[in-house]
């Protein structure tokens, strides 16, 4: 593992498996009378959230607290961030407070990268979602969930077929998942209207389809991405209704999936838009499990970054 977790592309297959295996051991903690380990006692984890994301912040907070770390929540609201304090000055403040790790959520793609490489802080940086770039811990929890259901909870995901549907252009979840699932040997198919696919997607390690119906019968796990209604105003698609009809996962489409296939969504869902309510609540839906697994995976990441001796920051810039 590198000293930071900025991109799913930074994880080798061995790194990724180490995180998943560690998460699996840590998942047992949830079943114990005392859901706490002393491992990160005396270490400080700062949740630096420039964007509202209660679910991700709570997940990281629970993970850090179960490892006995001190957690400081630094949210944009009510802090000097909203008064225009620069990322640099905030980082220098966190450094002065002795942050051992900074979990950062930011609307600007690359902000975690800046934090990690600019020399403002010494601690590890964990990307908790940056702009339209990446969300590596989401990809890890998705891979964990897929592995539990489809690969017997061990090893990699070789040969599993994962279809990711929705606003790939603006999705950090999709980017991280393409990197990580590919690293773990899965075959990924992205499905979106052409307007919601980034230029150059044909060079990503995955297949691309404009139709949701074609890949579904060969899909082991289908991941629906949140589509924001405001994309409509930028003419990415004509109307919510048309989007839902062409790309939404309803009961009829779910029936086209193989029997063992699972339905995933990173949340928060737009029920009735990209996913039907009956689909979200169906037996195939593992959406609630994803949330549970998120805590274990984030514990694993924090343990592997902070639990041992300080990792030497990788000199090499990652692409």
């Amino acid at each position: 593992m590198k000293a930071h977790l900025l991109s799913a592309a930074d994880l080798t297959r061995d790194d990724a498996l180490l995180v998943l295996d560690t998460a699996q051991e840590l998942a047992q903690i949830a079943d114990r009378p005392i859901k706490k380990l002393p491992t990160l006692r005396g270490r400080t984890v700062v949740n630096l959230f420039y964007e509202d994301s209660t679910r991700t912040r709570i997940s990281f907070e629970a993970a850090a607290k179960r490892l006995s770390a001190d957690v400081i929540n630094f949210s944009a609201k009510g802090s000097s961030v909203s008064k225009g304090e620069s990322l640099k000055d905030t980082a220098l403040t966190l450094e002065a407070m002795g942050a051992d790790a900074v979990v950062i959520r930011h609307s600007a793609s690359g902000a975690p990268h800046r934090l990690a490489t600019s020399g403002w802080i010494r601690g590890s940086v964990v990307n908790a979602g940056d702009g339209t770039h990446e969300h590596p811990t989401q990809a890890l929890l998705d891979a964990y969930t897929i592995r539990e259901h489809l690969a017997g909870g061990a090893g990699d995901l070789a040969g599993r077929r994962v279809t990711i549907v929705g606003d790939v252009l603006h999705s950090r979840v999709a980017r991280s998942n393409v990197h990580l699932l590919h690293t773990l040997g899965a075959q990924v198919t992205l499905v979106a209207p052409p307007t919601l696919l980034p230029v150059g997607v044909e060079q990503w390690p995955c297949d691309v389809s404009y139709s949701i119906d074609a890949p579904l019968p060969q899909t082991d796990a289908v991941m629906m991405l949140r589509v924001q209604a405001e994309r409509m105003d930028s003419a990415f698609f004509p109307s919510a209704r048309e989007y839902s009809r062409r790309y939404g996962l309803d009961a009829r489409r779910m029936a086209a999936l193989p029997e063992h296939a699972i339905v995933m969504h990173p949340g928060p869902m737009n029920r009735g838009m990209e996913i039907g309510s009956d689909v979200a609540d169906s037996e195939r839906s593992v959406i609630v499990e994803q949330v549970t697994n998120g805590v274990s995976v984030r514990m694993a990441v924090l343990y592997l970054l902070l639990g041992g001796a300080p990792l030497v920051a990788d000199e090499e810039e990652s692409a």
Partner: protein, 427 residues
């Protein structure tokens, strides 16, 4: 009258003694034959001399952003880069859209004395793209403005662009267009391509530049005026300009040193020192730009020297200002990308960096032959030396150079503005 003898220097491959007397070149004679009595002698056996460089595209930031650059620091940087004339872009605060502002900038340049400062006038009032600025008044002012540009913003209104092109014909002016279709580049952060998709940064498509160039060359043909295309950055733009020139359209074009050298994969560092408008493009674009500059499709190298204080770069990519320093590294980058590669010889460099820009800007006394009677605007270069770029050693007030730490060919030994040394020691 002081006399300087540059002894045994190479002019287009021939060794000469160049005698500077007062503001002019007095003699250019065979090596060793100049009278050095009472003269300052510069031994230049390993050096070459070119006409002083002329920049068509410089941001001096004064008035308004003196924290980033002033006319004084900017022209000192220019002299250190071998320039004897720069065109100061109009996007200052207040905007250079009146005779008063352009005269102020012109006067500041004359006072500083490091190089000639020719203000560029804004095309539209306040760069707002709504009404034509008083182009004639600026042309008639003491600054004698001939180049007009809303640089930083595109004159995107086709009718306004047509009128501007027509109007400047009265005083042989030229419209220097910043070609950027605004709707296609709203909030754009980097070249649209594989990298923007991977990095999750909003893309800036090549077509946003090319569509405006295509429109503008057709407008220029229609009204038979002069168009200059600022900072061409894509292979498609080079093709369009080549086509327009083949039709006899009076279009000229510039490329920046950074677009000749740097590519969009540098953005993977998310370091805003690489954030620039137009954005860094792909390796294929870089190759096309070099070829275009070599074959004359692109007429000049212009720096687009854009100083920014550190707080505007020491931040998230999206929050950062666009632009990079260029004056002090331009010649080295052109040497690295064009001379070392064999695409251009030193005569070609003199044309693209001095003669052609002086002609486009209608400057007298710049970009002239190195011959008796001509103004002594000269730059003395050691072509075999190498220089490591050190941001803290730059004369510019800002530090946003993308070349820091790079080892680049050439060293500027001295710059002369009308016989007076503006850079380099007397040693």
């Amino acid at each position: 009258m002081s006399t300087t003898v540059i002894r045994d220097v190479s002019i287009n491959g021939e060794r000469r003694d160049v005698v500077i007397a007062g503001e002019s070149i007095a003699e250019v004679v065979a090596s060793g034959s100049a009278d050095t009595a009472g003269a300052t002698v510069i031994e230049a056996r390993s050096l070459i001399v070119l006409p002083g460089l002329v920049d068509l595209h410089t941001h001096l930031r004064e008035p308004g952003r003196e924290d980033a650059e002033t006319v004084e620091t900017g022209t000192r940087a220019a002299a250190a880069g071998g320039f004897t004339a720069v065109h100061a872009m109009a996007n200052t605060d207040p905007v250079a859209d009146t005779a008063g502002v352009v005269e102020q900038v012109w006067r500041l340049g004359a006072q500083a004395g490091y190089c000639d400062v020719h203000p560029v006038g804004a095309v539209t009032v306040g760069l707002a793209g709504q009404r034509l600025a008083e182009l004639g008044a600026m042309a008639d002012s003491a600054a004698r403005v001939r180049v007009f540009s809303d640089d930083g913003k595109c004159v995107s209104d086709a009718l306004l662009m047509r009128r501007a092109l027509e109007y400047v014909k009265a005083f042989d002016g030229v419209i220097a267009q910043h070609s950027q279709e605004p709707r296609l580049t709203e909030d754009a952060q980097m070249n649209e391509g594989v990298m923007s998709g991977v990095l999750g940064l909003k893309g800036w498509p090549a077509v946003a530049e090319e569509a405006i160039i295509a429109r503008d060359v057709l407008l220029t043909e229609h009204v038979d005026s002069r168009l200059h295309v600022c900072h061409v950055s894509t292979a498609g733009s080079v093709d369009l300009i080549r086509w327009a020139k083949s039709r006899g359209i009076r279009v000229t074009a510039e490329v920046t040193p950074h677009h000749l050298m740097l590519t969009d994969d540098l953005v993977a560092t998310y370091d805003p020192v690489y954030k620039v408008n137009p954005p860094l493009r792909t390796a294929a674009d870089v190759q096309a730009l070099r070829a275009g500059l070599a074959d004359g499709t692109i007429d000049v190298v212009a720096t687009d020297h854009a100083p920014h204080p550190s707080e505007d770069k020491d931040c998230e990519w999206q929050a950062a200002a666009m632009g990079m320093l260029g004056l002090e590294t331009a010649l080295a980058v052109v040497a690295e990308t064009m001379v070392v590669t064999g695409l251009l010889d030193w005569a070609g460099v003199a044309d693209r960096m001095s003669i052609a820009p002086a002609r486009i800007g209608r400057l007298e006394g710049q970009g002239r032959p190195i011959a008796p009677g001509e103004p002594a605007n000269l730059v003395l270069i050691d072509p075999a030396a190498r220089t490591v770029v050190t941001a803290s050693a730059l004369a510019s007030r800002s530090r946003n150079t993308p070349y820091a730490g790079l080892d680049l060919p050439t060293r500027i030994v001295a710059t002369f503005l009308r016989g007076r040394r503006t850079y380099g020691s007397d040693a």
